[in-house]
Subunit: 505 residues, 2 copies
């Protein structure tokens, strides 16, 4: 085991010592034990307190915003503006969850009073969702705040009333530590028990964490490879637990003939931003764009290539992302029928920088070789001859987080038949926009069929809390032993009473 | 591969030929292909039609109620009265799901209009749950209707808009076939596509079914062993799918000193019924009963043993249940400190009949050897000296579907500290009642921590539909391309609009 962890500045490629030791097995056990002890304490607090806790965490992060962004910039190569925006999104998310916790609909409270029914007399049954227990959170490299230690998994697990143990990302250990310290301070101010939020460092500690019998669920955002390593550790457990992984996504984008005629330059410019922003390192980056073959397609492809080539070289997050991007870039460029519209790949002089790329191929040549994810600033433009070819080629794209359509009013009937396939193959269908920039809101869904995620859950938006809750029913319980939210006289949350939804009043 | 499947009358142990051939691999593929083809057709129908489909299925089952019960009686050994009741519960369930489909709250529809927020301008995002695709249903031997071909998994998968392919249970193939034919007739009358409901026969066909790439989820009720066989087949899939298994459960029941003083004879009589009804072959049968040690305990134990011994011998469902019960019975009877209150085990002269049993042990002697599930008419009475010993011994009971408390008003404060552990270790806490006889209703939850189920889902009650749905979001979608339920003007279902829950009007 190495003495201490290193961190690397992607802008220079220079590694330095963090002074952080990998967490030992004993310490992992102690941290989980504290989380386990905290679980009933947190669960027994009312929703009002839990909302205050989330707001206190947001406050503590905001107070340290500049320092956090500076630390993250040196570890991720993302720009200061992007990181400040991301931290704002992260605290916005914590506050939205606080609002949801106060509102209480997420408890799915239901009361069936004792009744004589068509199948005889039936007892009083009441149900609501309760916390599941300590949650292990594995963040991603590309969102050092919003999908890492203080991110959506942590916020939604805490909103559900569960303690969290985060695994610090190996590519941003100092950011993880600083964010953790901010959360710890916010939790302390709210009077939360010590085990409310914990952190472990090092890959081995992460494996021990997911194998620990007192860990109740795992939230993960990252690569399919890392996910499979964790899944193996989870499958080896005596008691299975849910693994919520958000893994990879190609995100097809389709432009109709009418849309290309009407908005070619506009789409090319905006698509270029969507492909290259944050170095193209977004899980929702459109990686493959379908355009109707013809003269307009040539013009569009040229406009897109010009816009993409005009962006700065992208500094990738770390050596692993660089290696994976380079491999994918090379594979795509070498795949049959592919031409490059932005010159060939070139190795950068310094750090982990790469040039953004636009590649192009005809739909009839597309095979699974062409539909791999290149996590970085690259888009493959695919020319389709007709609707039939479009449909056939789309079927070769792996299921994704998103699918995007650029259409005009005249297309509404013509593209209707495309929708079922796009809806089946994705978790969010975007019209006349771009899949990047995921709104954090009540109705958002961020997930999709495998290998995007495991289909049934979202890792963004209020319903992300649902992952870390389980239903519990009480039969004929004395009023005094019921949770407040399930007592007859309570009216502070929406509830389903004898089958009828009743809003709070 | 055997030519045709056999069925055995558990009352006589005599096997006979069913004339049913195991479904070939080609036929499994063809049946799943029909289900896949039916999926978009079903999904594209409105909720009103889907509710009518469920009611048509209920009608068709009711029309054949007597014939179905007679076939099931010969294959399960369950009484005609019990089977008629079960069929009533099954049709009640289908009608309740129809009601839920009409009400529409299960769609969890949410609309966030485009807005300027604290983190900038945001697009219009709308979300609801959509069908997941063909569902494989593996029923249990102990509920040939309510948890088999026409049971809760089938009803909730169809309610969610998914086609179903059932695997006929090897212990009741003729019942499965007859129920399937009734469902098929009901589906035909409702104008449903042919692939709406399918059936396969034979273990190999079942394994092929869960491995088929077009199967989207598996509902299972049965033994841990059979579940692990299926889980292995599922884990070998390229694309993982959810496996909803309801497996085993010991269901602890606790009686306080005050309750024993107040209601000893009443509890003994009712517990005897709960332990022996349906031959004790209910997943919620209380398998271990904790009573406070002392003179009252001796009286209670004697009353319970008398009541249990007075019930008829129980005909177990099949040879496997008989073997598993006998093994568990022998292990429990041979475990340290266990005494029998109902004579010793004796082999029955005919069929798969066994004598109901009451065993007894002191809490201080209890080890994991004592807390295994005996699926059949057996209860282990455990004498506890004090609350501390009760808590320690409860911790040795595997997590279960249910936990039951018999208390008096005077106990309310005294037993409050017990609740967190009981709630953590079960999915339903029952007060002054019995866990058997699971109410089918909106608020019901039937599930529990592993190995009862996999914690997060229910297989009874309206929310069982949630297992077979997945969230889908639409961003900036033209009104004409949105599902009716997500259009601005629609008000037929409850929806969350800009964070505010709005009931139907």
């Amino acid at each position: 085991m190495p003495d201490t962890l290193t961190t690397t500045d992607p802008r220079t490629g220079i590694a330095s010592d963090t002074g952080i030791r990998p967490t030992s097995a004993d310490d992992v056990a102690a941290i989980v034990a504290r989380a386990k002890a905290a679980a009933p304490e947190i669960a027994s607090q009312g929703r009002a307190w839990r909302a205050e806790l989330l707001e206190s965490l947001a406050d503590a992060l905001e107070e340290r915003a500049d320092a956090l962004a500076a630390i993250a910039e040196a570890e991720t190569g993302l720009t200061s503006a992007r990181l400040s925006g991301e931290l704002g999104r992260t605290t916005f998310q914590l506050r939205l969850f606080a609002e949801a916790v106060r509102e209480g609909g997420f408890l799915e409270a239901a009361i069936d009073h004792a009744a004589h029914t068509a199948v005889g007399p039936q007892p009083d049954v009441r149900r609501m969702l309760v916390p599941i227990g300590p949650v292990a959170v594995f963040g991603s490299s590309n969102f050092p705040f919003a999908f890492s230690v203080p991110g959506g998994d942590t916020a939604s697990a805490l909103a559900g009333g569960n303690p969290v143990v985060a695994k610090a990302h190996s590519a941003h250990p100092l950011t993880s530590k600083a964010a953790f310290e901010a959360l710890q301070e916010g939790a302390r101010r709210a009077g939360a028990p010590r085990g409310t939020i914990g952190i472990v460092f090092g890959q081995q500690a992460g494996t021990e964490l997911v194998g620990h019998p007192d860990v109740a669920a795992v939230g993960f955002t990252g690569s399919l490879g890392a996910a499979q390593h964790l899944r193996a550790a989870i499958e080896a457990r005596q008691v299975p637990i849910p693994f919520y992984g958000e893994l990879q996504s190609v995100n097809p984008l389709i432009i109709t003939e009418a849309a290309l005629q009407a908005r070619s330059a506009e789409i090319a410019a905006a698509l270029s931003v969507s492909v290259t922003a944050s170095g193209g390192q977004l899980c929702t980056k459109p990686g493959i764009a379908f355009i109707p073959a013809g003269v307009a397609a040539d013009r569009f492809a040229a406009e897109l290539a010009t816009a993409v080539a005009a962006t700065d070289t992208a500094v990738l997050l770390n050596e692993r992302v660089l290696a994976s991007f380079s491999t994918a870039e090379e594979a795509l460029e070498g795949a049959p029928g592919v031409t490059s519209l932005t010159g060939t790949a070139e190795s950068s002089a310094e750090g982990f920088a790469v040039s953004p790329r636009v590649l192009r191929v005809r739909a009839r040549e597309v095979t699974p070789e062409h539909t791999i994810e290149a996590f970085g600033p690259l888009v493959l433009v695919v020319d389709y001859e007709d609707q039939e070819e479009l449909v056939d080629t789309l079927a070769k794209v792996p299921d994704s987080l998103t699918a995007t359509l650029h259409i005009e009013d005249a297309d509404l009937d013509g593209i209707r038949h495309l929708l079922p396939a796009l809806q089946k193959a994705s978790g969010r269908v975007v019209f006349n926009g771009y899949p990047t920039g995921v709104r954090v809101s009540w109705a958002q869904h961020h997930g999709g069929p495998w290998p995007a995620t495991n289909t049934l859950h979202t890792s963004v938006g209020v319903t992300a809390i649902r992952r870390f809750l389980r239903p519990l029913a009480w039969q004929n319980a004395p009023e005094a032993l019921l949770p407040e939210e399930l007592r007859d006289g309570y009216s502070g949350i929406p509830r389903r009473v004898d089958g009828v939804l009743v809003v709070a009043h």
